[in-house]
């Protein structure tokens, strides 16, 4: 069995796996980080997003080997990130999920967005969610939650 070393949530993790396996499967099955979801495997829905070097990245279809040396952060570690924690809090305050299957990807996308742009207007928020889908119709609440998180972070 091949192995590779990835930096995940701040830790170097050596994993016995085929480096051609998409990162999402490595996270979910080898590291039990199941927050990121498989929605399509086609990079069409955003449910699998994780932060890679601070930027939201879809990982359902990209070999884990490509991520060696990059800083990978999953939704599970965002509580420890001030921006991520503010986003999570704002999602709860706005009730911004129904079934929750797409939510981890949205939380990651929102965190990435607010790290790049602390005061996004609605247009910027929508642009930051371009790669994401939601089927329950929580869209308006998600947009509101990101606006709320931006304000909370700004007030700190």
């Amino acid at each position: 069995m091949d192995s590779l070393t990835l930096t995940i949530n701040g830790e170097a993790r050596r994993i016995d796996c085929d480096p051609a396996t998409p990162l999402l499967f490595v996270l979910r099955n080898d590291l039990d980080l199941t927050g990121a979801k498989l929605g399509c495997g086609l990079e069409q829905c955003g449910a699998c997003a994780v932060l890679v070097d601070g930027e939201a990245t879809l990982c359902c279809n990209r070999p884990a080997g490509e991520f060696a040396g990059r800083d990978i952060v999953t939704v599970e570690a965002l509580e420890k990130d001030p921006v991520g924690a503010a986003v999570q809090k704002a999602f709860i305050a706005e009730g911004a999920a129904q079934c929750g299957y797409c939510t981890a990807g949205l939380v990651v996308a929102a965190t990435s967005l607010l790290k790049a742009n602390a005061t996004p207007d609605r247009e910027a928020i929508v642009a930051g969610l371009e790669e994401h889908l939601c089927r329950c119709g929580s869209h308006g609440r998600v947009i509101a939650a990101i606006g709320r998180a931006a304000k909370e972070i700004g007030n700190v």
Partner: protein, 720 residues
């Protein structure tokens, strides 16, 4: 305390208080319900009801996971029935539990029961220092009494939890990624599995290339075959996905039974059909359909119109999944099905085993909005588990399977005709709806009716007899859901037509036929209002006696400025779901841009679902329901050709994105103490019609066939 107006059919089969409520010696309260969480937050609402009646904080309530043989069998979590059925049952059960515990406390403390008050599970006698807790009274002991359907419940004026806006149960786990979906299950020795689907519904397996199959087996994969059902299992999920692709390539399929490519809307009104008149508040009758008579002599105008909607997909965000272990003493299943008791019986029927040996635990999946692939995936997992006894099998569908193999909401056509008199009153009304069945959930019955409706059943070596759906004859079901308008019209002629020989697999999607019927009725109401020279709101109110219906309609109308001259189109629509459940009125403001795209600017939603329990949860059902229906209306249609379904992913089946989200104002009508109506499906039908009416208002184009894509709008403009 006040005499309860709440009643629940669930109590007839499950009268025992212990089936619903138990108290731990630590004072924690366990609530069991047969209704499951599918994103609609029913657990939150039930927990709030229980905490309220028992006067304990919400975090003292444990919602027990729904398992066959353990939870009350409340049928399917569907039809906007959960609040009425389970919400009312839990209210009555917890009120009975409270009374029972207070009576014991009074005896134990030697005080009059009237002197007792409860705070945080502590029962105290006023004016004394005597007290006892729920846990001390009832901890780990059975109640041994039935739920009293006439028990007094708390006066809504004293509610402290019910009606509040709270964070839904599970949301903090969802946003931190620790919420466990079925897809996240991990059991010792578990194998992942994938089905190798045929190219289309009618294809059958001729054979598998032996050499390729042997290579896969040598690579450590298990191949399971039962007729044309083929699956592959192995320890590594991604390797199994790749193995499934290799196995598909090694399969030789007979694809001679191609899908019909005839125009579906021609077929809907031309194919053989079972027709039934619908009378008496939405109930079909077994008698001939009356012919469409000439319009009345006093008709000032008679309008006719036909409305169409295409096949729509549930298109859940997560492909369906099932987990199974086949053991000597029975089959254990984990499923995100909306009806685990039905599924249990159907699976038992398929394997000819005792249903009591099948145990199904509900584990959340992605939102399903009806009969998606959940039941089928559970059965697929069971088929694999049966071939590999003792091994836990986690079987997941692919994106393509969810889009191409889960049941769809049927395409429907609605033919309407109505006449108005010189005063602008409707004096006759005819509405015929045409469609395939909505009723293909795997419910067991004669001729293996349950097994026959599980997808992979029909591909097995010995398939069950084909299930031939019959016209549903109960009130407001399937094709005739909301066929009967709530408006007061004389001379109504209502007909449902169950159409035969249509090409795609169909079943229940949120609202069943109501979305198409309300789209048609409420579009037609605007057409009639214009013919009468009366504004659409007044025209509706002129025909609407139901005071709660009038109130939601007026609430939206008051928030819409139809006289605004800003280039936006405005439309309104209304319905009461099944003429029995929640009321919804919808107002929409939109723009049709130069690219012929519908851009939603603002929506006003008004809802009345009886007493509000989970305030934000109810609002979410309205605003989420609106956005989902807007997506159906603007964007969605299932496509296919002779070789199979061609809308197989999010590019070929596009849904509404974050770039077309209006500002939504949701107005909830307060009805404390009034029975729960169930809010999950009220808004969908009015949403579709309000958008159609707003497009007409913006462009002068009356669109009668969903979806309203740029192509459809340009085509309508060319014809105009």
């Amino acid at each position: 305390m006040s005499r309860s107006v709440f009643s629940s059919p669930s109590l007839a089969n499950h009268p025992g208080l212990d089936e619903w409520v138990s108290v731990g010696s630590d004072g924690r309260i366990s609530i069991r319900s047969g209704k499951v969480d599918i994103g609609q937050r029913i657990s939150t609402a039930l927990a709030m009801i229980a905490a309220e009646e028992l006067d304990v904080p919400l975090d003292r309530i444990d919602m027990v996971r729904t398992v066959t043989g353990e939870a009350p069998d409340e049928g399917i979590t569907s039809g906007s029935n959960s609040m009425m059925e389970s919400g009312s049952a839990v209210r009555l059960a917890t009120a009975t539990a409270r009374r029972h515990m207070l009576a014991q406390a009074a005896e134990q403390l030697g005080v009059d029961v009237e002197t007792l008050e409860v705070d945080d599970g502590l029962i105290q006698s006023r004016g004394t220092n005597r007290s006892v807790t729920y846990g001390e009274i009832q901890g780990d002991k059975p109640f041994g009494v039935d739920v009293d359907p006439d028990v007094d419940v708390k006066d809504p004026e004293t509610h402290r939890i019910v009606g509040e806006k709270i964070a839904p149960l599970g949301l903090s786990e969802i946003v931190t990624g620790s919420y466990r979906f079925l897809h996240d299950m991990k059991l010792p020795g578990m194998l992942h599995a994938r089905v190798v689907r045929p190219p289309h519904y009618n294809a059958r397996l001729e054979g598998i290339n032996d050499e390729a199959a042997d290579r896969l087996r040598e690579g450590g994969f298990e191949i399971v075959r039962d007729g044309s059902f083929v699956a592959v299992a192995g320890g590594d999920e991604y390797a199994v996905i790749q193995a499934a692709e290799r196995l598909f390539a090694a399969c030789d399929w007979d694809t001679s039974g191609a899908l019909s490519e005839d125009d579906i809307f021609e077929r809907l009104t031309a194919n053989p059909r079972e027709s039934r008149p619908v009378e008496n508040d939405g109930v079909p009758q077994n008698k001939p359909v009356p012919p469409l008579a000439d319009p009345p002599e006093n008709a000032a105008a008679t309008l006719e119109a036909r409305y169409d909607k295409p096949y729509h997909a549930h298109a859940s965000m997560g492909p369906s999944a099932g987990c199974a272990i086949w053991q000597e003493d029975g089959l254990q299943l984990w499923s995100h099905s909306q009806g685990i008791y039905f599924l249990r019986d159907a699976v038992a029927e398929a394997f000819d085993i005792d249903p009591e040996t099948v145990r199904i635990e509900h584990v959340p999946g992605a939102g399903c909005y009806g009969h998606n692939g959940a039941d089928d995936a559970a059965f697929d997992a069971a088929l694999v588990a049966r071939a590999l006894p003792g091994k836990p099998i986690l079987l997941k569908w692919t994106r393509e399977e969810e889009h191409a193999w889960a049941p769809y909401a049927t395409a429907t056509s609605m033919k309407l005709r109505a006449s108005i008199d010189s005063g602008g009153r409707v004096i006759d009304w005819s509405h015929e709806s045409y469609g395939d069945t909505f009723n293909m959930r795997p419910r067991s019955g004669p001729n293996m009716a349950g097994a026959a409706r599980l997808l992979s059943g029909r591909f097995r070596e010995t398939p069950p007899p084909e299930f031939i759906p019959q016209p549903a004859m109960v009130r407001h079901m399937g094709i005739h859901r909301n066929l009967d308008p709530l408006y007061v019209f004389p001379n109504k002629r209502l007909v449902k037509n169950l159409v035969r020989d249509l090409p795609l697999r169909t079943s229940a999607l949120r609202t069943l036929g109501a979305y198409g019927n309300v789209f048609a009725i409420e579009s037609f109401m605007d057409e009639l209002a214009e013919a009468a020279g009366i504004d659409p709101v007044t025209f509706r109110l002129n025909h609407l006696e139901d005071t709660r219906g009038r109130e939601v309609l007026e609430a939206v109308a008051a928030r819409m400025d139809f006289s605004a001259d800003d280039g936006l189109g405005r439309g309104i629509a209304f319905a009461q779901y099944k003429n029995l459940k929640a009321y919804a009125a919808v107002g929409v403001e939109l723009e049709v841009n130069d690219a012929a795209e519908v851009i939603l600017k603002r929506a006003v939603l008004a809802g009345d679902a009886g007493e509000i329990v989970d305030r934000d949860g109810m609002a979410a059902q309205y605003d989420g329901g609106f956005l989902q229906a807007a997506s159906w209306t603007i964007s969605e249609q299932v496509t296919w050709d002779r070789d199979g379904i061609t809308s197989r992913d999010w590019e070929t089946y596009p849904i509404l994105g974050f770039d077309n989200v209006p500002d939504i104002e949701t107005v909830l009508i307060e009805r404390p103490g009034v029975p729960f109506l169930g809010a999950g499906e009220a808004v969908s039908g009015p949403a579709g019609a309000a958008i159609a009416n707003a497009i007409y208002n913006a462009t002068g184009l009356r669109l009668r066939r969903i979806p309203f894509t740029p192509d459809a709008i340009r085509a309508a403009a060319m014809e105009a």
